[in-house]
Amino acid sequence: MSDETKPGLKSPLRRKLLMGMAALPAVSMLGRPAFADVPATSAVNTTGLAVTDSEVTVGILHSVTGTMAISETGSVEAEKLAIEQINAAGGVLGRKIKFIQEDGASDWPTFAEKAKKLLVNDKCAAVMGCWTSASRKAVLPVFEQYNGMLYYPTFYEGLEQSKNVIYTGQEATQQIIAGLDWVNKTKGAKSFYLLGSDYIWPRTSNKIARKHIEGHLQGCKVVGEEYFPLGSTQFNSVINKIKLTKPDVIYAIIVGGSNVAFYKQLKAAGIDLSKQTLLTISVTEDEIDGIGGENIAGAYACMKYFQSLDNANNKAFVPAFKKMWGEKTVIGDVTQAAYLGPWLWKLTVEKAGSFDIDKIAAASPGVEFKGAPEGYVRIHENHHLWSKTRVGRAKADGQYELIYETADLVEPDPFPKGYQ
């Protein structure tokens, strides 16, 4: 591939990346042959989005500064990779994707302001972005008012559905219920100690977990439930309580810097995770980097993607990601979900035969992405994804070893009956 075929890209990484592309048969198979017949712009763009005969503009809206940069960096990297790959495979409806990146700066009003800029000034055909629920809640009215399309990557608490958002991560019931069933069945777990950072996602998730444990699992009970302020670094007291109550399972939804403190102190207090079952839904490979693999080895995590997954898509995805962003980078669940965003958008646009937001929103249900690193995903009527739920066990090298996966795709259910 020569540079002339890549008019829309300005990334300095382009050349390096293109060399990497050669090693990606699985991905390039997905793309149609380029420039076969490019439909006229007036036909595919009736609402004045930033689409020309050769280019289409999308937005990337994440925090690259501030507290959340730790988490959101991986998502930005994955989205850029997906865009590069889509362009290398011929673009979308014959048009190269050009992206405009804005920084939400870990500040929710800034997210809303930048979202407005991307939609109103830049007329972005789609936006990949946000990470925390707070930032998503801040931009949601903007996307609904100006009729934009947001691809949101993080696993989250559910209780939301919008025509203008595609949720590429798992909602809470997908992530929680299968994991609890698994630990109950294979480990014979009967008593659970629920822990979390003190904000909406851990609280809603633990609420669902508690309802499931008490209402659906035979003879199981919750022996403790506790929350810590975000950024809390002292866990010795709760660790003592855990020692006192001796739960079969510690169910931990602690986020950010607190995670590091929690697992280090757990280990220092003599709780051996090879004997004590700990199940988390908040620690991806990204977080293990900071925690240190030796401090969390033995813990179980329940999510939909692990870097170590053994399938053809993932075997192409992981080296491509490392080639673009460095050998040492790790890929967590959300990073993979962020990678799905541009691809799902491309597939939806091609299905709809149009960039118009209304047509994309209507065409989204049923769109399948067979090249997903997690295997196979399909968009549900409620704009969330059908996906498998998996349990992995942390190893000292910072990777998860796949222990269990659901046989079928799990249906997304953002408004679970009986769990609210």
Binding site: S237, A268, G292
Partner: protein
């Protein structure tokens, strides 16, 4: 909640909980000491204190990597080297900052608040650009992790005891420096009456610079020690700053004894409440108590009597 447990179980928990409180106490003292020196002796409100701590943490991380590559046999003991390097790095940066920024603002103490807050933002972004936005994992020698099995059911975290020992050592050294050395006398003279201290031949500028450097250096050591119990990332310093100010203000701004007394009372309240309530509620009640006490006694627990 205690109905189902045996006496020996409860005894063991009580002992471990007591240690948890003491460890929290040491952590508070260690992080507040540097700030207390700067705030108490110089009246400078150093909002970048957390970032000086994180510089220490990053130095520890770099030392750990360097030692693993160059001299793996040194690894079990690298932490001591790292702490010394952390002290030097943070102290040197502190002196540089004092020279470039703080000394111009001594007459406007509230502006130091703004200036050092700006500095903290600059440092955070600098860490992010240099070390990356992601957290780094500091690898510790095996002997520092794990716990000491005191009895069958009592386990005491080794890193907690390490922090305690370190805190005691540093506190003794600081007290020696400030209250028995001749340099300490100069510092206290400058605090009490800057003009007179200058008149009797004390180089007040130099005293200021070294005092600020000492405070920042201790913050660096604290940051280095906290890699054992917390995270190391560009914004991790923010996790400590609120607690640190709380301890210093509650103790009485100009008193090191006050800092220690306040660290003790806050940590004991916090860890006792945490055991009976949830973490968030414990924090709320602790903060409310402190606010109430400060309303009655705005100068804090201990106040130094200074002729104004």
């Amino acid at each position: 909640m205690f109905g189902d447990y045996s006496i020996s179980d409860l005894g063991a928990i009580l002992a471990m909980q007591g240690f948890a409180g003491l460890i929290l106490f040491s952590v508070y003292v260690l992080m507040a000491l540097g700030l207390a020196i700067i705030f108490g002796q110089m009246g400078v409100i150093n909002m970048a204190h957390g970032e000086f701590m994180i510089l220490g943490a990053y130095v520890t991380w770099m030392t750990s990597n360097a030692v693993q590559h160059v001299a793996p046999w040194l690894f079990p003991g690298y932490f001591f080297i790292a702490m010394i390097l952390a002290f030097i790095a943070s102290g040197a940066l502190g002196m540089l900052v004092e020279w470039a920024l703080i000394r111009h603002l001594y007459k406007r103490p509230l502006d130091t608040l703004l200036a050092t807050w700006g500095l903290s933002l600059i440092l955070q972004q600098a860490y992010r650009s240099i070390f990356g936005a992601r957290e780094v994992g500091v690898e510790l020698p095996e002997w520092m992790m794990g716990s000491w099995q005191a009895t069958d059911s009592i386990q005491i975290p080794i890193n907690g005891m390490f922090v305690m020992a370190l805190t005691i050592l540093i506190t003794i050294v600081v007290f020696y420096i400030l209250f028995w050395s001749s340099w300490g006398k100069q510092v206290r003279a400058v605090v009490q009456n800057r003009v007179m201290a200058g008149a009797v031949g004390i180089n007040t500028e130099k005293v200021d610079r070294y005092t600020f450097g000492l405070g920042c250096g201790i913050a660096g050591i604290a940051g280095s020690a906290f890699t054992m119990i917390g995270s190391t990332g560009p914004t991790a310093g923010q996790l400590y700053i609120v607690d640190t100010f709380l301890v210093v203000v509650f103790g009485g701004a100009a008193s090191l004894f006050g800092t220690i007394a306040s660290a003790f009372s806050i940590s004991q309240t916090q860890s006792t409440l945490e055991f009976f309530l949830s973490g968030s509620m414990a924090k709320v009640i602790t903060l409310l108590t402190i606010v109430a006490i400060l309303m009655v006694r705005p100068q804090g627990l201990f106040a130094l009597k200074v002729r104004k």
